[in-house]
Symmetry: C2
Subunit: 219 residues, 2 copies
């Protein structure tokens, strides 16, 4: 799976530039420049940028170029509001579908997270974290909800949580709550636990991200 699609590579590259603030709101993304940086031609870059427009990261000014979209603190709060609702619903639905084996896997992942934390292996923590949520979200068997969830999580920079002190520990605690609710077999309790988990993450991200407070004007 070296480079399945150049346009995906271009999209991922620019998305990360936007999320890490290396490209600021209002700036133009020059197709040719990106093409040079990634050593590809302009066609796949343009395709990738159009995909990013579809994701809400860029706006397209016809015959002018792609502009980085505004992303305010309120926007991030709203994104996590969506993410919390969706992750909560998916987790609630998953409760009835999770097999005993899958529950065991979740417990194993939770153990791995704890030991990895003690070793200070944050990459491993993130991997297990991801697997934990993925297992739950797949078990819900609701691909469209999962699609919307992914759309909302795209706004979280890769490896963002690494840079937030105390987050992995808080996450480990939240997962314990989710697991307990799953073991209790109570979908509503699972939903609440997962919603709180995501909400915590959102609060941390807003505190650490240093975003513009309000939009500039009315479009």
């Amino acid at each position: 799976m070296a480079r399945p699609q150049l346009s995906d590579e271009a999209a991922a590259y620019v998305r990360e530039l936007v999320l890490t603030g290396q490209l600021r709101a209002g700036e133009f993304v020059r197709v040719e420049r990106v093409a040079e940086e990634l050593e590809m031609s302009v066609t796949p870059v343009r395709e990738g940028l159009l995909a990013l427009r579809g994701e809400g990261f860029l706006e397209l000014a016809p015959r002018r170029g792609f502009v980085v979209a505004e992303l305010t603190e309120d926007d991030v709060r709203d994104l996590f509001w969506v993410q919390a609702r969706l992750a909560g619903e998916l987790a609630a639905r998953a409760t009835a579908h999770l097999t005993a084996e899958q529950v065991k896997e979740l417990e194993a992942l939770q153990t791995s997270i704890t030991t990895a934390l003690e070793r200070g292996d944050l990459d491993e923590v993130e991997r297990c974290n991801h697997a934990f949520h993925r297992t739950i979200n797949l078990a819900a068997r609701s691909p469209k909800l999962a699609w919307f969830l992914r759309a909302s999580t795209r706004y979280v920079p890769n490896r963002f949580y690494h840079r937030i002190g105390g987050w992995p520990d808080a996450s480990r605690h939240d997962h314990t709550e989710v697991l307990a609710a799953i073991l209790a077999g109570d979908p509503d309790q699972v939903r609440r636990a997962m919603e709180e988990h995501i909400t915590h993450a959102g609060q941390l991200l807003v505190e650490h991200a240093d975003l513009p407070v309000a939009a500039t004007g009315g479009d």
Copy 2:
């Protein structure tokens, strides 16, 4: 607004083909064929299809082409679940922001819908319907939530409601409930009214759309 962007035209064309069932799940969308039909070259078509992949309508089999994605009855139910939550939240948020003038506009639109219904002018009904929701959604001042809402409504075929007997009348009734809640200034009541409204629409669409009941298997 003749042809703002050929890729948008291609995306809209194929999206409608998928939604109206002229392209069935699993079928390949041949780039060159679409290009011929729209009398454009393959580049903008491919760009449009990549956008549709981002919207969840198509899947991309690398080096094979674009395949129409599965859309089951459960998927549509989930899409309307999302739509109802988002429209409800937006309406609740709008309640505090709506000016007296905007409320008057909503009432005027509601009146227009009623008279247009009596004339049997379904196009006008749809126009006012759209304006009604748009006014509320803009007043909520939550662009990201609005983005997700739009993503969920893209799955509703254009002019779909025209073909459903009794829908315009039911819609008129639901709007009355929403308006009453807005006039009462009660966000929670507004949310409930709007969620019910969308849920009704979803039920009607599922009943009339004749979709596959379940997904074929595990991807």
